[in-house]
Subunit: 306 residues, 2 copies
């Protein structure tokens, strides 16, 4: 097996993009054109017992909520509002998840977010088998403004922002209860021209590499401006808080780039935004300036000293 | 656990349908409005190793093809052309499906249909776990005419047609190699006003019950007009060929209703259509007239003599 990035590159080469698809594999979601004017966005995510959650320790309601929340977060990252969810599940035969009570709780979890953001659970598929519990959610959406925001629009000279703080999500369970940043996305679109945006699911380091690769740009980060979550202090044997903020992932916060003029405006907002660095023309290079002035290269899973 | 029909009814009651969703749970797919004019259709299906196929005896290419074909068939049933597929898979760790060769073949199978019908594989998700191989496909489409064809539009007095023949699909492997009737759907829309349509996945009896329930109508079938597939003769211990045509399922042929005037036109077509009966006003009743004039009630899994 090759790495996920190589695998996605292979798939991009293998599958031809045909109209009405405008953006296919490689962003948080796909963009389809309905007609000259309107666009539809589609995102999808599969969640698996013992991989993405653990039913022995997590309530079905939280698992249901999370299966929708990760997809809502992908749509928020594309500046798009959810319209319809398609939820497929497979239940293990003869075990707790096959009971009506489990299903009721699970569906309550997905309904919570559908009601909060006013979209429809519009279809799906339900099966049972001699295997673990699995869920696939496919979520459609519509751009809040005329166009979706892609990963590929960052420009050299842009300011980079995250909604923070980051890190410690896995160890403290925040990864199950996070709030998808949909209202924030709408707010940002109202105030600024977002050049590129994505949500942080695999860690700031890796996701920023993905954005810079898609945009054919690089990034210079300021170490002391990266917001470290207080949850990180709770992790045992902690030596490098910044490393957790860069690498833990499952933050589901928004990462985006805007012009310097928009950056000025957003810096004085009340949106808990952190300006963490600048987009450069050094395509593919992500670097970090430490407090003492030393510069490190940031790899996909954190930084190594040069 | 309740029956699938009860379960779907529960879900329909539980989940509110909100704009831009026009048709939600309960048809072959959902209908979303993009704007005043254009519609988007979404269908989804999950396929599981040892439930819907058996990787010990079936090539990955055929499994890949089928995972797309069942969804194309659902779109055909809604009179809609596919635009974009979203393919999620989970691979068992340390086994054949995790190899590059398996994946190459599997993706060739999905590519075959994407190329044949000119749509895009536009996204998905890939994972691995300590469980069996599973696939979820979500497929978007656009109505061939202005509107999608639903299950709920059959009218008392309509003629009922199937593209046949039916039965024996499971036992002879036709369920893996079937041709989704997309070109037929386009052809029918060109020649007639289709009141209701669906594809036969769970057997003519059960699927006709679903269509009649959605349309609040009944059906009177003519036993000798139901086309029995020659594959049925290959099944050992065969006593009731008609029973197989009614109940086997996985035919993926189109079932539809049209006015008597349109029925006249279609009866003389070269489309391998079979006029199998008439829609009645006896809501929920599906009945069968045998060659000797006796009438049977047809249950969801075949007929019982009155």
């Amino acid at each position: 097996m090759t790495s996920e990035r190589e695998f996605i590159r292979e798939l991009q080469q293998r599958f031809v993009v045909r109209p009405p698809v405008l953006t296919g594999i490689g962003d948080d979601g796909a963009v389809l054109s309905c007609d000259d004017q309107s666009r539809m966005i589609v995102v999808t995510d599969m969640l698996l017992d013992q991989v993405h959650f653990d039913l022995r320790t997590t309530s079905p309601r939280l698992v249901g909520r999370k299966s929708i929340a990760v997809n809502v977060s992908d749509l928020a990252a594309m500046g798009s509002w959810p319209t319809a969810a398609f939820v497929s599940i497979v239940l293990p035969k003869d075990s707790a998840p096959a009971t009506q009570q489990f299903l009721d709780q699970w569906y309550s979890g997905i309904q919570d977010l559908a009601d909060q953001f006013e979209f429809t659970i519009a279809g799906g598929d339900t099966n049972s088998w001699n295997g673990p519990f699995a869920i696939n959610v496919c979520l459609t959406g519509m751009p809040i403004e005329e166009q979706a925001v892609l990963r590929s629009g960052a420009k050299a000279g842009d300011a980079l922002f995250v909604r923070g703080p980051l890190g410690g999500s896995l160890q403290t369970g925040r990864l199950l209860t996070f709030e998808p940043r949909l209202t924030l996305a709408a707010n940002l679109l109202d105030r600024a021209d977002l050049h590129a945006m994505m949500d942080i699911s695999d860690g700031l380091s890796l996701d920023l590499h993905r954005m810079m690769e898609a945009s054919k740009t690089g990034a210079m980060l300021i170490a002391e401006d990266i917001p470290v979550h207080s949850d990180v202090a709770l992790i045992d044997g902690l030596e490098q808080p910044l490393h957790h903020a860069l690498s833990d992932g499952e933050d589901f916060e928004l990462l985006f780039s805007v012009s310097q003029a928009d950056a000025e405006r957003l810096s004085h907002s009340d949106l808990q935004l952190h300006r963490i660095g600048t987009v450069t023309d050094r395509a593919g290079f992500v670097e970090l300036i430490h407090a003492d002035g030393t510069v490190s290269a940031v790899g996909e899973s954190g930084w190594q000293h040069l």
